[in-house]
């Protein structure tokens, strides 16, 4: 059969190439701005190591907190229709449309010791500004919508009737959720967690408002760039890129592995 070239596919190929080039080339190009020896030296640099580790740790904690906070709401939104549903969904997504430094300032107005919440937390002995808690709160604010949205969509894929069957067979709502709904939507939720983690580790704007110190990797890179220029910023940049991509790929493989297993049934 003669192969036909439809115009839409030609356009897709061209625009696809532009997108991939736009995504990949700047990342790869970074590697030409330094050399292996400098990267090796940067790897043993204590400041670089601790900031990268802090970024990974805070992004991971953020993802776990987002998971426990977001899953119940996502499930409720997936299963119920009610008057204010659209409003609530919009409110959940609001952090995604606020510029991140603005988001940071909004959080600061709440967490500052001059605000009632800030004072209350201070009385409890919980310090938020300039601490890991501040970093996590900033990351959580900007990345939570991604988890809620992904989990909600994943739950929607599980038919309500399947849950009805489980209930009629004697399972409580919680047993149905854990044994049927959650198991079947796990892959979608995991994808949501990956995106949440990726969004958290890449957060900079909101974090520097709440916690310039201790320094997460983006803050450290920004500081090196503004203080010493490209030469000192690029090696740390590369280390963060490599670590982020490795974690991203591993998590993706885990989620795709589940998908292949599921599809091969």
């Amino acid at each position: 059969m003669q192969k036909r070239f439809e115009l839409i596919y030609i356009i897709a190929a061209i625009t696809g190439f532009i997108i991939l080039f736009f995504n990949i080339f700047p990342i790869l190009n970074t590697f030409y701005w330094t050399d292996f020896e400098t990267i090796k030296k940067t790897l043993v640099d204590r400041e670089v190591f601790s900031s990268v580790w802090l970024s990974v740790k805070c992004a991971s904690i953020t993802t776990i907190v987002a998971f426990f906070l977001g899953i119940p709401l996502a499930y409720y939104l997936a299963r119920h229709e009610f008057k204010l549903k659209n409003l609530i969904e919009s409110l959940v997504d609001i952090p995604m449309v606020i510029p991140h430094t603005v988001a940071g300032i909004c959080l600061l107005t709440v967490l500052s010791p001059r605000s009632p919440v800030g004072r209350f937390l201070e009385e409890l002995g919980i310090e938020t500004l300039g601490t890991e808690i501040g970093i996590i709160l900033a990351m959580l604010f900007v990345s939570m919508p991604l988890l809620v949205d992904s989990a909600r969509d994943a739950f929607k894929w599980v038919p309500t009737r399947m849950e009805n069957v489980a209930r009629s067979l004697g399972a409580t709502q919680m047993q149905t959720f854990l044994g049927v709904t959650f198991v079947l939507s796990w892959r979608g939720i995991l994808s949501g967690m990956i995106v949440t983690w990726a969004r958290a580790i890449s957060e900079f704007g909101a974090v520097i408002i709440l916690a310039y110190h201790p320094m997460i990797a983006p803050t450290m890179i920004y500081e090196r760039f503004t203080t010493y220029g490209m030469k000192y910023a690029v090696p740390a940049n590369i280390i963060l890129i490599v670590i982020s991509i490795i974690i991203f790929v591993v998590l993706r493989l885990v989620s795709l592995g589940g998908k292949e297993k599921h599809d091969s049934r």
Partner: protein, 340 residues
Amino acid sequence: MIHVKDLNIRLGIFRIKNVSLKVKKGEFLVLLGPTAAGKSVVLEAIAGLVPVQSGKIMVNNRDITFLKPEHRNISICYQDYNLFPHMNVQDNIRYGLRFKKDRNNPKYEKNFKELVKLLKLGNILERLPLNLSGGEQQRVSLSRGLIGNPDVLLLDEPLSALDPNIKTTIQEELKNIHETLHTTIIMVTHDFVEANYLAEKVAIINEGEIIEQGSSEEVFQKPTSIFGAQFMGIKNIFWIEDPEELSFFGLQKPAHIGIRPENIYVSQEPLSTDYHFKGTIGDIQNNQIFMEVKCCNAKREYSTYLTTNRFLELGLKKGQPIYFGFGKNYLIYFREKNEV
């Protein structure tokens, strides 16, 4: 016994109005109605999956109206099977047992073996649902619903997603299951042929209201409502007001009458049935299994069903003169205040 009394449900603008049903222990009730009549809502309300506004649902004299679904001992099976895709057939069937306090009772293992045998599932127990045909999935779904000895098994259009040949097989198996296990079954369908084959009792529902109910034979042969008659495939429903016709059919005042197409006898010779006419053949439609032949007299057009053999034997052609008629006992008189 299950007794649904004056059930009222409101779902948005849709309402279930004063639905009452009685099903004896071991009886097979079919809730028959068109799409969006509310039949699945009634079924889900019995299962406790839809909140009830008012009314009562009693099972074996136990009021279950406000019990959670898991405490009712009522299983539900849907047309789209809803097998758990992450469990193999065996685990799907046994799923409900894990929530039973007496799950180690040997009676459940006996049930499992009996259902596997009855529904011929022996060769597919290790398979995952994705690798099963529609018929196999529905068999697994039925076994899953039956293994825990439910007080009632609810079936929501269990045959409508199946291919015609598989549908017939599962329909027969369903009848066999009911005859063997004597489970009380309430099934929802829009297909009167299915209802007539399976049901001992039929209730017709439309726009959230039960239009009529009775034994399968009663509702099929002598429906009391015009809606029920139309739904049960009665094509000949006539409004009689002409004095000559009123006296012919023995009516005191204008009324609707009905006659099932298959109860009209067609012949080339004059007939001696209680009601008989001379007329001509109108349109002829080949429905593969039977022929639908319109027989027209001066006043009306009657639909009749003939087997293909009988049709060929009579050698019928459009416009040909014909005799047709039916017995008095086949004539259906409807309740008043109904409109076609």
